[in-house]
């Protein structure tokens, strides 16, 4: 009961923060929707843990509990997000190099 209450409070706070970021246009509607769905899912599974157990059982995780399913999904999602961040960083690094090169060649043109 206590853990559900704490989770509810934390999720509520995160949703408020999400709404503020969306209002300030720091994130777009797609990002807001996806993060919102994530927090809602967390809240839902914490409120109804038996639902997670039945989903886990239906997809073939017979000896696992619902929480195990949540962990598997969370780990997969985390690795996917790391990959997306790596791709983004690689793009940014290449752009920085392009700009640096452009400046170097432009300075030479001025001579």
């Amino acid at each position: 009961m206590i853990i559900q209450f704490i989770t509810a409070v934390v999720v509520f706070y995160l949703v408020i923060r999400l709404a503020q970021k969306y209002k300030r246009r720091e994130i777009n509607s797609k990002e807001a929707f996806l993060w919102g769905m994530l927090w809602f899912s967390v809240f839902f599974f914490v409120l109804y843990p038996k639902f997670a157990d039945s989903v886990a059982s239906k997809i073939g995780l017979k000896t696992a509990m619902g929480i195990d399913l949540v962990v598997y999904i969370a780990v997969t999602l985390a690795f996917y997000l790391i990959f997306r961040i790596s791709v983004h960083m690689e793009r940014v690094e290449r752009d920085i190099t392009k700009i640096t090169r452009h400046i170097a060649l432009k300075e030479d043109d001025k001579k």
Binding site: V87, R94, I96, T97, T100, R101, I103, A104, D108
Partner: protein, 226 residues
């Protein structure tokens, strides 16, 4: 035939003037790319009489070479040579790299210390370089006797078709990969590599060389998504 020698340099104030001058004295045009050095590399390179380009921040060996390549292609040089700034290479051997390109015997010429000479090469370093050869053979399909030699020569027509995105030392692997993809004629010529305390202090550590290979593979994978 106009030949440009590209020398990437990062914190090489001690050697760069002498190295650039030695190449200029052999009759070649030199472009030094100062890759965000924090010492007087830029000023020392200017003293040599070379053209000096400057990266305002450090981007890496590959990025500096690519900047030099772009400059040389813009200035319409026919042959572009890569040369290290740490006195490992012998400027008199540039002629042996350039001639096969001029005679159209090859589009790309790579120096090889294993058909030439590698003075005082440590055993572990030798093992790592040999591993790099196998690595290059597996991933690029080209068998070289020296996969990571910094002394290279390209025809301008070949270099125009090569565009490397690797900023760091894994550029050396990517360039071979690009040569293989474009099916360029590649030739290895014997060169001398001098290992001095100075050049060893400037080079990558042995374990870092392994990470360079991993970084190359990871970047190759990311290329499809960037």
């Amino acid at each position: 035939m106009r030949v440009a020698v590209v020398i990437p340099a990062h914190n090489e104030e001690e050697k760069i003037c002498g190295v650039a001058r030695s190449v200029i004295s052999c009759g070649y045009d030199v472009v030094v790319v100062d890759d965000g050095s924090r010492d007087n590399t830029f000023l020392e390179a200017l003293k040599s009489g070379a053209v000096v380009l400057r990266h305002i921040i450090n981007r890496g060996y590959g990025a500096a070479l690519e900047t030099g390549n772009r400059w040389a292609l813009k200035k319409e040089y026919d042959v572009i040579v890569h040369f290290d700034a740490d006195e490992q290479h012998d400027p008199f051997e540039i002629k042996n790299m350039v001639l096969p390109v001029i005679r159209e015997e090859a589009d790309v010429v790579i120096g090889s210390r294993f058909i030439g000479s590698a003075e005082s090469i440590a055993f572990l370093r030798k093992v790592l370089i040999k591993s790099a050869i196998v690595f290059t053979w597996i991933f690029s399909g080209i068998k070289l006797s020296d996969a990571h030699n910094g002394l290279r020569a390209f025809s301008s027509s070949a270099l125009k078709k090569i565009s490397c995105a690797q900023d760091g030392m894994s550029y050396a692997s990517e360039i071979i990969d690009q040569v293989a993809k474009n099916k360029f004629k590649i030739l290895e010529v014997p060169v001398t590599i001098k290992y001095t305390d100075y050049s060893m202090s400037k080079g990558e550590g042995n374990f870092k060389k392994i990470f360079i290979g991993i970084k190359f593979l990871w970047s190759k994978f990311l290329d499809k998504h960037v």
